[in-house]
Symmetry: C2
Subunit: 424 residues, 2 copies
């Protein structure tokens, strides 16, 4: 990554030494995980560029936009309605939470028995290595899990924070609560930006975000059709980048890549030959640079063809219905769309089990890996219901529980290799 940004990073209050160290590690990791792959689609060049500039050019874009009066809002969850942020001419960015950073600093704020994702966003902030968190005018939290809900109370000491309440069931009363939360958030965004969210603005924002979802859906379908035209880790990377790149530019780049993948599919150009085992990953989100499991899986000779995850289909499957003349109508459409996300924090959560089965069938996978972060109550407990359902459907499942450390990589490899072997 370029060194031209030192002054910018300094102005954001980053710890330059720690930040340099992080970039060096990330760069090395990126080369190993992504650039050494054989026969990658050319269209990945754009995403490589974005990643190379993830702490550089994109951050500069945010600061330039702020200099022109726009606001930047950071989020941690696919439940934060990005459409409202865009409709107020603000920029939405997903915040850093995919690496173990300064665990000793996080320990001063959180119990040890907190999941790696939550410890990570504290670590990034406390170590001063996340330009996004520091650049944000506001951070949006949500009451998904106990860990995040209670950790945000503490994170608010470090950063301006707004918390949305996610319901826990999907009944009529929950829809009422969630709609009220969307309206409350809309008002907060309007207050922050000074921009009134009109029906026209909101409709345009809905189209922008839907277009991104449509492009990612196209990528999803192409992987179902041609499972080896792109590696699972590259597809995951694209889904990760979706959270902080400019939406329109990103959508264009995904569609350009999809054109290429379609041609590769027709031409039989593959990243892995010989009919490899096709796997789907279901469970907790994998934020940048959490590429541990995909690498283990694909180095074991399998190819990942689907992600039932917030960084994956949980973020892209459902569109907002693009109908409605008034803000109230559009808020209704947003409410419905977000209520359909099947996070494990809901009870009961049959919808998620259905979605896993449907995706597994659509992608014709040989097996599913359920990926849960250690100490993540919702996903670790729900894993049993996933197991029951997949057993009933005759779909093979491997349940894994891990964190962001490297200590268990050997153990993961052994288990994943055995699973792939069993499915071969």
């Amino acid at each position: 990554m370029s060194k031209d940004y030192i002054q910018m990073w300094e102005s954001l209050g980053l710890n330059l030494e720690a930040h340099d160290g992080l970039l060096e590690v990330l760069g090395k990791q990126y080369r190993e995980v992504f650039l050494k792959q054989q026969n990658r689609p050319e269209g990945m060049g754009y995403f490589d560029f974005v990643m190379r500039e993830v702490h550089g050019l994109r951050v500069k874009e945010l600061l330039d936009a702020q200099a022109h009066g726009r606001k930047v809002i950071g989020t941690f969850c696919v439940y934060a309605p990005e459409e409202l942020i865009l409709a107020a001419n603000a920029i939405c960015v997903g915040l850093c939470a995919g690496a173990e950073i300064a665990p000793e600093l996080a320990d001063e704020y959180l119990p040890r028995n907190t999941c790696a994702l939550i410890r990570s966003f504290f670590g990034f902030k406390l170590a001063g290595v996340c330009p996004y968190t520091n650049a944000c005018d506001l951070v949006v939290g949500e009451t998904t899990c106990d860990g995040k809900k209670k950790a945000y109370e503490i994170f608010a000491e470090l950063k301006d924070l707004y918390v949305m309440e996610i319901p826990q069931r999907k009944g009529a009363a929950d829809r009422v609560l969630w709609r009220a939360e969307i309206v409350r958030f809309k008002e907060r965004v309007e207050q922050l930006t000074g921009v009134e969210i009109t029906a026209d603005r909101l409709r345009a924002a809905i189209t922008t975000v839907n277009d991104r979802r449509r492009a990612l859906q196209r990528l999803t379908r192409l992987r179902y059709q041609y499972p080896t035209v792109i590696s699972g880790r590259d597809a995951l990377l694209i889904n990760q980048i979706a959270f902080y790149d400019d939406p329109a530019r990103f959508t264009g780049s995904v569609n350009a890549l999809c054109d290429e993948l379609e041609q590769r599919g027709k031409d039989g150009v593959e990243v892995a030959s010989g009919n490899p085992v096709k796997l789907m990953i279901a469970g907790c989100p994998m934020a940048v640079p959490n590429w541990k499991l995909p690498v283990v899986v694909e180095e074991a000779g399998a190819v990942i063809v689907a992600e039932e995850s917030c960084v994956g289909e949980r973020n892209t499957r459902d569109l907002v219905v693009e109908e409605g003349g008034t803000v109230a109508d559009l808020v209704d459409r947003l409410t419905d769309r977000y209520m359909s996300i099947n996070c494990a924090v809901f009870t009961p959560n049959e919808g998620r089990l259905d979605h896993i089965v449907e995706t597994a069938r659509a992608a014709k996978v040989d097996g599913i890996i359920h990926y849960a972060l250690q100490f993540c109550g919702p996903y670790t407990i729900e894993a049993r219901n996933v197991q029951k359902r997949l057993d009933a459907e005759g779909l093979p499942l491997l349940r894994l529980e891990t964190d962001y450390g490297a200590e268990d990589t050997g153990q993961l490899k052994t288990r994943v290799e055995a699973f792939v072997e069993q499915l071969s």
Copy 2:
């Protein structure tokens, strides 16, 4: 405990051998923890009797009531509105969750990183040693924490289960949700019992439960006034028994005990002399037979004078306003009363911090022990905010995290003794 109940236990599907073993251990533990205390109030005789008959006479009462057409509903949380249960002529009992039972069986259903309380109610059920769970016509769960919310989905395989949704904030939209949940529960109880919950019935039930709360509030005030007229463990026991004894009989017994305690206060009759260190316990509930920490504290020479806990003031502090001519009015009163409970699952949760400080001041404690179960996200994470607030108030705090095992008792003793020494 009498052996006359063998047939009854058999009919409930208990594992007689395991159950015998449990009763033997519990009996021994009870003698050590309670009966060996010096100078106990005579009024504790009633509660000793109830405990001796906890798996006997009380269970027989439930079965006799069922034989006469009444229903028995089990609960796990102070958010379950007992008034609706009583108003439908049903019996409400708190379910067994205070001991480590058959952890190897619980492991088949739950991740290891689940708190002891949740593992306990699975263990009790799976080992076949809880006559209450087996006797219930319905069990009421609630979406307090991630662990319980998701574990109930699995527990529903073992027992008829109904889940109430607890909101996570205390705004206007949350009150709407919670009121809808109370109405939904009312309908479920009416359906189960075949009894229509009229305003008269509900008003009477509200008075019954309020009377119990008033009696326990009286006990609370007496402990503030005369901190050594009763031990903390006896007061905890009374609060534990509140969850499954007949409410009216229990209320009478608490009031009789309070008459005695008042006299003891005036006469200077004490369970601990020499101005012992006065402590308050704040945090997770302690269900029967979880007496580990109180014993450690009182054996260290301190006396516990208050419990900011669901088995304590969180269950007794607030009355339902006894006004309202219609069921709808009374449902409003119930809604307001239950919304005022300050469980750590709420965010933000300043009300709980206020309550801890108010109680500490009212009881004139020398220090506070924050008690959290390991893997309980809400309480372990909130402990830091409790610390900050108590530091600001100049109130000494000891933060403990433990489980139901005996392994850490030595370590707890060392820490508690040091804390008591520091406050002496």
